[in-house]
């Protein structure tokens, strides 16, 4: 059971809803993923939009995690969070403050300012952050309910560029760590869990896969496998072999007859 932001979640996979070609595929992927928490963005209404995203998500029985995607300043992110709270009647917010258009990596100083302001305003803040152990600690110190380091840039599918840093964040965190962004395929999600992350947030790897529903199933299994492996305790790495069959009791098979 994952305890995140005061909730008890059976699934350690949080699904991003971005990039699914249709609401029907999104619905099927939610079901296949087993997720209980999904992200949504807030945008100007689109008169041409068919079907209601919120209706689909409500029917799937998942909780909404609104994001502040697209915000480049603390001020815009705080405003977007307040609008999201009105729209979705939730104090949960996935805080994103982007600092660079090409990499979409977080703007650390703005992120910290926004996190502190939103915590003070009563939000349960889940910040999308760099894989920086010091920044993660600062976010925790201002009262964030989790830290969500990027494995690599959003939508890149590179996987976890710096497993050492992610392990450091996990080692020192007193709040849940959610590996957010960069997952490309199932093995990346398994690695995140083996490194000790409490959950994985994944959008593009599923939504832009050739078969999103099948990938949702694969990443679900990977998250479960990685978690189980962590709990089981991996063997240490060695430089040389350690025989797994006993060396004693070997028969004498070479050489001629005994003289």
């Amino acid at each position: 059971m994952l305890e995140l932001a005061g909730r008890q979640l059976r699934s350690r996979l949080i699904l991003g809803t971005g990039g699914f070609p249709s609401l029907e595929l999104l619905r099927e992927a939610i079901e296949a993923s087993g997720t209980e928490l999904v992200t949504v963005a807030l945008r100007r209404i689109d008169p041409g939009m068919r079907g209601s995203l919120v209706d689909v998500l409500d029917a799937a029985g998942v909780e909404l995690l609104p994001n502040t995607a697209g915000c480049f300043t603390a001020r815009d992110a705080v405003m977007t969070a307040r609008l999201a709270r009105e729209a979705f009647e939730t104090d949960l917010i996935k805080l994103e403050v982007i600092g660079d258009e090409r990499t979409l990596l977080p703007d650390a100083p703005e992120l910290l300012v926004a996190a502190e302001e939103l915590v003070d305003d009563g939000f349960t803040v889940l910040p999308y952050t760099n894989d920086d152990p010091v920044l993660a600690r600062r976010l925790e110190d201002v009262g964030c309910a989790a830290v969500m380091p990027a494995g690599s840039p959003i939508g890149s599918g590179i996987g976890i560029a710096n497993p050492y840093n992610v392990a450091l964040i996990v080692e020192h965190a007193r709040v849940p760590v959610v590996l957010d962004a960069g997952i490309g395929t199932a093995s990346d999600a398994a690695l995140a869990m083996e490194l000790g992350c409490d959950a994985v947030l994944c959008a593009s790897a599923i939504s832009r896969a050739r078969d999103p529903v099948r990938m949702a199933r694969a990443i679900r299994a990977a998250v479960e496998a990685g978690r189980a492996a962590l709990e089981a305790g991996r063997i240490p790495r060695r430089r040389y072999a350690e025989a797994s069959s006993p060396m004693h009791g070997l028969p004498e098979l070479s050489g001629g007859p005994v003289e």
Partner: protein, 68 residues
């Protein structure tokens, strides 16, 4: 009179409330999944029924989109 709704000029009758505007835009009056800001300030849902859209107001009407 004219207000700006999501960056486009829009004719609104005097006395139009936020609720009325939301319904005009084809959204449910209850507004689940919808948020409104006027001149850069959030309009809490509890005030939609009484808050009027003034001449020249900059209104943003937002809703859930796939993302994140």
């Amino acid at each position: 009179m004219t207000a700006s709704v999501n960056g486009e000029p829009r004719e609104v009758a005097a006395g139009t409330t936020v609720t009325a505007l939301v319904v005009e835009l084809g959204l449910p009056a209850g507004g689940r999944g919808v948020a409104v800001a006027i001149d850069g300030e959030v309009v809490p849902r509890a005030e939609w029924g009484t808050r009027e859209v003034d001449e020249g107001a900059r209104v943003e009407v937002l809703t859930a989109m796939q993302g994140g």
